[in-house]
């Protein structure tokens, strides 16, 4: 601004030249951006299609309704996808409430001092810790100290630990993005702090929180190392007890204590087999994991879109 005032532009041609120059820069930046996105997308699509076509012969109802088998063509992922779903259910139920609560607390209630700074740095660091470390922690803490065994509960809690930092960080980011005047307006009409948090802060940051939750879940579904470390099985040809029973009280929690396997472990096992037919199975599981992740992401984007449409500032 100061420069413009000091040296007013007289020549219209000069102004046009300047505009042209900036438009060209704009275009170059957009082109570079497009190129980066396109190369990433194309890589992903090629990888996915390669997996998909390698695994294509195995896609069918049987693959999803059969247990592991020594015969590649009869082997399926029933115990694996049920196991993955139940583990992720536990992860979701633990990590999401805890993560949002922690994020809201740190952002809205915690005093800004060295302690909260320390916590903030640690939470951010935790998001980048290799997953095997979480596995080792969980083996010592959940399996041995708390004696929870090599169960669905242990795996769910382990992956919840893995996911927590992601949810906390994204919750805080989302809360920070809410304009200050919304908050001030709410306080101005006499809302208490809790009312502001519950009726304004959380609903408005919903979209950002959801993104964090989905990124966390997508990471959790593909994790192998921590789940193997805590002792997930590879061959299991029965399902955990059903969470829903026919008798009162209609729900039971025996399934939490059950042994289990998950999708990435089946993939890992099959890809390391000598026989080519097992590699086909591995490709099929890989495609299933990617499709599941894509469905979860799509669901989240749709939810976020619906929520944002309702917010009228």
């Amino acid at each position: 601004m100061a420069v413009n005032q000091a040296k007013p532009i007289k020549d219209l041609g000069e102004v046009r030249k300047l505009i042209k120059e900036h438009k060209r820069n704009d275009f170059i930046f957009a082109a570079v951006g497009m190129f980066v996105i396109a190369s990433l997308t194309i890589t992903l699509v090629i990888l996915f299609l390669d997996l998909f076509f390698d695994g294509y012969p195995r896609f069918g109802i049987d693959f999803f309704t059969s247990y592991p088998s020594r015969k590649a063509i009869q082997a399926g992922i029933l115990s694996a996808w049920v196991g993955s779903s139940l583990v992720l259910l536990v992860t979701f139920l633990v990590a999401v409430p805890l993560g949002i609560a922690a994020g809201v607390y740190l952002e809205e209630y915690a005093k800004k001092n060295w302690l909260s700074d320390l916590i903030e740095i640690n939470v951010s660091n935790l998001a980048g810790v290799p997953s095997i470390i979480y596995g080792l922690l969980a083996l010592g803490l959940f399996v041995y100290s708390f004696d929870l065994g090599q169960s669905i509960l242990t795996a769910g809690l382990t992956l919840a630990l893995l996911m927590l930092p992601i949810v906390i960080v994204s919750t805080r980011e989302a809360i920070r993005a809410i304009p200050v005047h919304i908050r001030e307006a709410a306080f101005a009409v006499g809302a208490t702090k809790w009312q502001v948090v519950l009726n304004h802060v959380i609903p408005y940051s919903y979209g950002g929180i959801l993104t964090g939750v989905i990124i966390g879940m997508a990471r959790a579904i593909g994790e192998t190392a921590p789940v193997i470390t805590i002792g997930a099985l590879t061959f299991i040809a029965f399902l955990p007890p059903s969470p829903v029973g026919a008798e009162i009280p209609f729900v039971n929690f025996d399934w939490l204590e059950s042994g289990f396997t998950v999708l990435p472990i089946q993939m890992f096992n099959w890809i390391s087999r000598p026989q080519y037919e097992f590699h086909v199975n591995a490709a099929a599981v890989g495609a299933v994991i990617i499709i599941l992740t894509a469905i979860m992401n799509g669901f989240a984007i749709k939810l976020r879109y619906n929520v944002r449409k309702k917010i009228k500032w």
Binding site: Y67, S69, R70, G231, T234, F235, A237, P274, Q275, Y276
Partner: protein
Amino acid sequence: MKYSKFTAWGLGATLATAFTFTAPAQAAVDIIEIDGSSTVYPITEAIAEEFQKETGIKVTVGVSGTGGGFKKFCRGDTVISDASRPIKAKEIQKCEEAGISFIEIPVAFDALTVVVNPSNDWAKELSPEELKKMWEPAAQGKITNWNQVRPGFPDVPLKLYGPGADSGTFDYFTEAIIEESKAIRGDFTASEDDNILVQGVAGDKGGIGYFGLAYYEENKDKLTGVKIKNAQGEFIAPSLENAANGKYNPLSRPLFIYLNATKAAFDPKIKKFVEFYLKHAGKMSAEVGYVPFSDKEYAAILNHYKTLKTGTAFKKPAIGLSVHEILSLSAAN
């Protein structure tokens, strides 16, 4: 549930009789839990699958590796442990500390196969001494060309591919060839995934590697299996027959399952499972690419199991033992 049963029995009976009533209930397992070696896994998986179909008794199998499996086994978490090598003194100590004794059951042979690239037309036959020359720690940085291995071999860079240090295959190879467990040169391409080794040797004219026979059998079109000189001085090709009749030595190694001796002695489900295992191990191991013992040998192993003789036959490392040698060593302990 267990506690209320215990107190109910305890009310009507003396403590001693209550103990006898509850002890079998505690010993009986609902699910037969197995863990351990990824090499033995395909055999155990096959048996577990058939056993569960036939009897309805639930079996689970994990893959923590031989060492990881023994850790769980010696904590009492599992009742059976898959192992691609004999139990080590340290592991035996851990088991003893926990009051767990074990029965060692050999289930099949795996023939370690040395492979070279198909365009390698000079090294069709190798002796253990030549393998040692290539792989021993002293070779590091020095033996880098095929013409250093044997006079007459061409001037082609030597590229080594082998399993990583966590693998039982690696342990056995070093014991059999270098004659010192875990001693190996540091400058070779290591991978825990044998398929990576297959790709490495298949794409490298000067490549040489080793892994289980099953990986060679599946990739015969991409690799050449090297004939290895045995103790009798013959060069023997790696194959199911040669490993089964004992000619392929010193690179065929026994695979084991270890049983928790207390459970194996008293639990009817475990008994049933082990008998089922030994009855079908021959057929199943061949099906998944391992070398079965003869029916006679399986019968001898079953008898060995029934004597409930605990302990290992491998107090010191032993290479190229036959089933009967293993059993007699075990009985002598």
